[in-house]
């Protein structure tokens, strides 16, 4: 029987320019509801010095665990903010948390994942809980990092999170905990005493014949079915041209088969001169894939399903956290408000919502943590 904890969640947001002032302002709003938090989640958009954010936060919450990252956008009150600082303070009796910042994850991501997992077990113990993850989504092989982390922590944990990134300028991004700030890092926290119902969906469906990724390295796919990737892609998406690739790539991502008849989406980012295609996230060699398609309706419907599934909890949740892919936001454009509406419709007004536009989404709904693209992950906490 699931224990219903004495969970108290407080949210806050500020878009003041000064990092310290912004985080302190947001925290003041949040802590009014929680008292001293067990964990403070801080999401900031680019432009807020993470060191200053930590200094400001620590002044308010002391040395209690803190985790956060730069994100492309903040969802607060179903609005998306391209500038601001939001906080989610989680406290209450029996709520425990421990954090860890693992740096330079692009060098041996599997081993770094294992190290991060071992550190979390060492700091927080091995009893079941939820692992919150904010990896730098712009560089490392996150799938491999997650497999390493899972190999250390195992199936007793639930894993959720979102890729950290800037405002699509791809300059730099930061992840942080109360221990400090990193780039090319993963900020991780293990949280106990809180239940999460997690759901994910994307609304994309297969739209063509399967093909094989015959040569790939990390995020770069060189050959598909033995011929240059771009050449094969344009053969599959006939209307696609090199100049029009950013658009077509966003419209027609790749789907990799996944457990339960689902697909994991891989988002093409750039067609390179050498005929290869750069993706947002790595694609393993010898993977079977297919072209996926979707539209605003299917995507928004998926968001609704996600909210519905997540909110199907035994008691009213105390918070809903969203990891919504930045690519969906860009693709939906003005229709993104409809996606928010689709969620809010299913939500009791008293349930606070905090979210982020993410550079890839993490969920372990299929059993183990996987890294998704163009997907929305919702986690309802109670």
């Amino acid at each position: 029987m699931t224990r219903i904890p004495d969970l108290r969640v407080g949210l806050g947001f500020s878009n003041e320019y000064d990092a310290r002032a912004a985080v302190q302002c947001a925290l003041e709003q949040a802590l009014g509801r929680t008292g001293r938090p067990a964990l403070t989640l801080v999401l900031t958009t680019e432009g807020y010095d993470p060191e200053e954010v930590i200094v400001g936060a620590v002044r308010v919450v002391g040395n209690s665990p803190l985790i956060g990252a730069w994100v492309p956008g903040i969802i607060f009150g179903f609005e998306v903010y391209a500038r601001g600082v939001s906080v989610c303070a989680i406290g209450g009796e029996g709520i425990e948390a421990a954090t860890h910042l693992e740096r330079i994850i692009s060098a041996g991501p599997f081993v770094k994942g294992e190290k991060a997992g071992e550190a979390l077990l060492k700091k927080g113990g091995d009893s079941p809980g939820t692992v919150l993850l904010f990896p730098d989504g712009s560089n490392a092989n996150i799938s491999e990092l997650l497999r390493g982390l899972y190999n250390a922590m195992g199936p007793d944990f639930q894993y959720i999170g979102g890729g950290s990134g800037d405002n699509l300028r791809f300059n730099s991004t930061y992840q942080f905990t109360e221990e400090g700030v990193g780039s090319d890092a993963v900020a991780a926290a293990v949280l106990r005493g809180i239940n999460f119902k997690v759901e994910l969906d994307h609304g994309w469906i297969p739209a063509g014949e399967p093909f094989t990724i015959t040569r790939a390295e990390g995020r770069r796919v060189y050959e598909i079915d033995g011929i240059p990737a771009f050449e094969r892609y344009t053969a599959l998406v006939r209307s696609c041209t090199r100049n029009g690739f950013p658009y077509y790539g966003m419209q027609y991502p790749l789907g990799l088969p996944a457990a339960g008849g689902k697909f994991i989406i891989r988002d093409p980012l750039k067609a390179e001169e050498d005929g290869s295609i750069l993706f947002v996230t790595e694609i393993p060699e010898n993977t079977i894939a297919t072209i996926m398609e979707g539209d605003a309706e299917s995507l928004i419907a998926a968001a609704g399903r996600v909210a519905e599934g997540a909110l199907n909890t035994p008691v009213t949740p105390k918070v809903l956290i969203l990891f919504d892919c930045v690519s969906r936001y860009l693709l939906l454009g003005k229709d993104f408000s409809r996606e928010m509406e689709a969620i809010s419709r299913r939500l009791k007004p008293e349930i606070p919502v905090l979210g982020m536009l993410s550079f890839g989404e993490i969920s372990s709904v299929s059993g183990t943590p996987l890294f998704y693209n163009k997907t929305i992950v919702a986690a309802a906490g109670w």
């Binding site: 599997f110 071992e118 077990l121 091995d126 799938s143 491999e144 497999r147 899972y150 190999n151 250390a152 922590m153 195992g154 199936p155 297969p206 399967p210 094989t212 990799l256 088969p257 996944a258 457990a259 339960g260 008849g261 689902k262 697909f263 994991i264 393993p284 060699e285 010898n286 993977t287 079977i288 297919t290 299929s366 059993g367 183990t368 996987l370």
Partner: protein, 836 residues
């Protein structure tokens, strides 16, 4: 039946594995596909190796988590696939929930694919290992292996070849053998590889790619199935050193001083060296090998039977060595030789090597040495196994034992039991070359006399065995002198106690020892100078000897007592604290008192000081100084009283000795007082005069009885001694506070008015009035008293003599007054007599 697209793609992808190089990458790929496609949350691949399951890879199990149990009990969410029915091992897959039938099928396909992959990988690894083994074997061969074609182009070479060429292995391939290996522009002359190509059969030989560098090369043709030569495997190794060694051997063979014969085991000579030709006077090797060692090269006087036995022993592998009478076949001359036989391999066959050494010279030397041994003035012996084997005449004489008695006797039995261990130790050290100086010890001769000897030993080969040669010299006399010298150098000759040198050494030694607490007593004989000066050194010496004896008697054997100065003694008392030291000192004082009771005439007065050092931090020298200071303090304290005691003792001794002069003193005192009063001397002068009258001759205590009491006139020498007494008296008086005031008067009491007196030769008024009075009174009383050297005079005669000497010996004015005084006294005594 229907399939959804995703499932079809999943199936498609399951079978679509890549084939990575490393196991780790394969496992990563399996994990990626398994977790993504099948939702597998744990997996393990276990290989069966000889009945044991070895984990090839696993995922999803925490560090230290027991996963074999999970495999044994998979439950509803676990799936176990047995590879080749379990022969090859198993694959364990775990889903996040109960496994459905559909999942089971997919898991089965996935596991089978993994099995294929692992099997392929294992096979690939085996092939790699096999290739690697072959390469390792060829690379481990130290010889150079080169596979080359007809143009000498290298097709493959091993590591040794690459190392020799100073290149990497792959750099050799394609290069020309002679260029790469030997940096030549053309093949080496006579290279067996060339002839192997030509003949099609293996060839071998020595090649010289460069001057001073030789290689042994063997070429093996490699032929196709049709018999066509495809290449040559060249095996080569450098033999420069071996060839040089052979040349060196040949040089040595011919240049050694021993003649060498190499024989067949049956006796036929195969080879001889140059020395052999010279030694035996043979002109050529051809001639030398025709002859026989037994018949031609040996004197017929040799025991040839014995030679046959030795020969047999050599054939059996022993190396017999023996002396032999060798013969020169040319002229029949015979010389002494030492022959050693040894079995060797010569040109691949068994042979007997005979080395012959001309020992004529050695024999002569041996004879000489034998003579030296027997005639040496040094005792010499040879000991074998600890027992005498040979001794010379001198040794017999030294030990008192005859040769027959000594041979076979244990050598150490002659050594004094106390010295045996040291002798054994020293001998071993000397034999090992650790010491070179002779060592000394005592031996006990046959007649029981203990003699000191000095020995050196050396190890030498005697009749084929290692023995010890010993040389000993009798140093008894030298030792006795040395001991005496040592005694003298460390002892005070007068008292027999240790001297200052010894004391200082002991002070240093004890300072470093652990014999603390150490007490030091310093003793100083009071008034020794006084005794020496007044009574002569022999008296002072007696006092010193007495003091030494008291000290020696009162102290313990472990204590060290030394005379460190003229009148100073020091006793070092090891392991003696302050209380024990004080106790010893108390006993010393008692002993002195006891002595003084027995010797009242010349009492012993000693000042003492004592101090104790409790550990080495307190320097013994400082302790000594402290004791010395305390002694001086006591000396100062006793000071005059000690000296007075002596003076009193001297006066007592004087009066006891010279009882005749006792009345003289009293009378003299009277006469002097009367005369002094007449001269109106001050009361102090009168007191001094009275005292002077009593003690003026105190200096005579130092004059031997034979002079002082001599009947008859004194000789000049005796007078000389006699005339010293005013000076001696002066010194004694100075030592006594009671007499110090009249010391000057004592000194001058034998001066004469005319300056002919002694010791200063003063005259007239230079002579103190007290002395002038005493001189008259003394002369007068002496004349009317009996003396050993003359008869008594009457008063008148005496007065006449006084009168006669007025102005010469005596003060004339005083003489007049004296005459009046005496006459007055005489008249008065006459009147008394009449009245009575």
């Amino acid at each position: 039946m229907s399939f959804d697209v995703a499932e079809l793609l999943t199936l498609y992808e399951i079978v679509n594995f890549s084939f990575p190089e490393r196991y780790e990458d394969l496992i990563q790929e399996i994990v990626e596909k398994g977790s993504r496609l099948l939702g597998i949350r744990r997996l393990a691949i276990m290989l069966d190796e000889g009945g044991r399951l070895i984990c090839l890879g696993k995922w999803g199990f925490r560090k230290g988590e027991e996963f074999t149990e999970r495999i044994k009990n998979p439950g509803e969410s676990g799936f176990v696939y047995l590879m080749s029915h379990g022969v090859r091992g198993l694959i364990f897959l775990e889903a996040s929930a109960r496994i459905s039938g559909r999942e089971k099928r997919l898991f089965n396909i996935f596991a089978r694919r993994i099995e294929d992959m692992v099997a392929l990988k294992q096979m690939e690894n085996k092939i790699k290992e096999s290739d690697w083994e072959k390469k390792t074997i060829l690379d481990s061969i130290v010889e150079l292996l080169i596979y080359q074609d007809a143009e000498h182009r290298i097709l493959w070479a091993n590591t040794s070849a690459a190392k020799y060429a100073e290149k990497r292995g792959e750099e050799l391939t394609g290069g020309l053998c002679y260029e790469i290996l030997h940096r030549r522009k053309e093949p080496c002359a006579g290279c067996p590889v060339i002839s192997a190509f030509k003949t099609g059969v293996p060839q071998e030989g020595i090649v010289t790619p460069h001057e001073g560098k030789q290689f042994f090369v063997r070429g093996y043709p490699v032929k196709s199935q049709k018999g066509i030569i495809e290449g040559i495997v060249e095996v080569c190794f450098e033999v420069t050193e071996r060839i040089q060694a052979e040349e060196a051997f040949r040089t040595i063979f011919n240049s050694v001083h021993d003649a060498i014969f190499i024989h067949e085991p049956e006796g036929e000579i195969l080879d001889v060296n140059e020395t052999m030709l010279r030694m035996y006077g043979i002109t050529s090797k051809g001639e030398a090998v025709k002859l026989s060692i037994a018949q031609d090269y040996s004197s017929p006087d040799n025991p040839l039977e014995q030679l046959r036995e030795w020969w047999q022993k050599a054939v059996e592998g022993e190396s017999p060595r023996f002396e032999w009478k060798a013969r020169r076949p040319v002229d029949g001359t015979v010389f002494d030789a030492e022959i050693c036989l040894k079995k060797i391999t010569f040109a691949g066959k068994d042979a007997i090597l005979a080395t012959v050494r001309d020992i004529t010279e050695r024999k002569r030397e041996e004879e000489l040495l034998r003579s030296i041994f027997s005639l040496s003035p040094i005792g010499m012996y040879i000991v074998d196994g600890g027992r005498f084997r040979l001794v010379n005449a001198r040794f017999e004489k030294l030990s008192g034992y005859s040769q027959e008695e000594l041979i076979g006797r244990e050598a150490l039995s002659l050594v004094h039991p106390e010295d045996r261990e040291a002798v054994r130790r020293n001998a071993v050290k000397m034999l090992k070359g650790m010491v070179a100086q002779p060592y000394e010890f005592r031996i006990i001769t046959k007649c029981g006399e203990i003699k000191w000897v000095e020995e050196t030993v050396a190890s030498l080969q005697h009749e084929g065995q290692r023995v010890t040669l010993g040389n000993i010299m009798d140093i008894t006399e030298k030792k006795r002198v040395a001991q005496k010298l040592e005694y003298v150098s460390l002892h005070d000759q007068l008292t027999g106690l240790y001297n200052r040198t010894f004391f200082e050494e002991q002070l240093k030694r004890l300072g470093k020892s652990n014999k603390y607490p150490i007490s030091i007593i310093v003793a100083d004989v009071n008034g020794l100078k006084l005794v020496n000066d007044t009574m002569g050194h022999h008296k002072g010496d007696k006092l010193l000897i007495a003091c030494a004896q008291i000290l020696k008697k009162a102290l313990r054997p472990s204590d060290i007592v030394a005379r460190v100065g003229g009148d100073e003694f020091v006793a070092l008392l090891p392991r003696t604290d302050e209380a024990a030291g004080s106790n010893i000192l108390h006993h010393l004082r008692l002993s002195i008192e006891q002595y003084n009771r027995k010797h009242p005439r010349l009492p012993l007065s000693v000042s003492f000081g004592i101090a104790t050092a409790y550990n080495s931090e307190e320097l013994l020298k400082q302790t000594y100084k402290r004791a010395d200071d305390l002694m001086y303090r006591e000396k100062l304290y006793l000071g005059t009283s000690a000296r007075s005691k002596i003076v009193n003792a001297l006066l007592a001794a004087l009066s006891e000795r010279d009882h005749l002069t006792e009345g003289h003193g009293r009378r003299l005192q009277q006469l002097c007082r009367i005369l002094g009063e007449k001269m109106e001397l001050s009361p102090q002068q009168l007191a001094n005069l009275s005292l002077l009258a009593q003690v003026h001759d105190i200096g005579k205590v130092g004059i031997p009885d034979r002079i002082l009491f001599k009947k008859g006139p004194l000789t000049d020498e005796e007078w000389e001694i006699m005339r010293q007494h005013p000076e001696k008296g002066y010194r004694i008086a100075l030592a006594s506070p009671d007499l110090a005031g009249i010391a000057d008067l004592i000194l001058k009491h034998h001066e004469k008015w005319d300056g002919t007196g002694y010791p200063l030769g003063l005259k007239g008024d230079e002579i103190p009035i007290e002395c002038r009075i005493l001189a008259i009174a003394d002369a007068f009383d002496a004349m009317i008293s009996d003396r050993p050297y003359r008869r008594t005079k009457t008063v008148e005669e005496a007065l006449e003599e006084i009168r006669r000497c007025a102005g010469m010996q005596f003060d004339p004015k005083l003489v007049e007054i004296f005459l009046q005084v005496i006459l007055t006294i005489e008249e008065f005594s006459e009147r008394q007599k009449v009245a009575n």
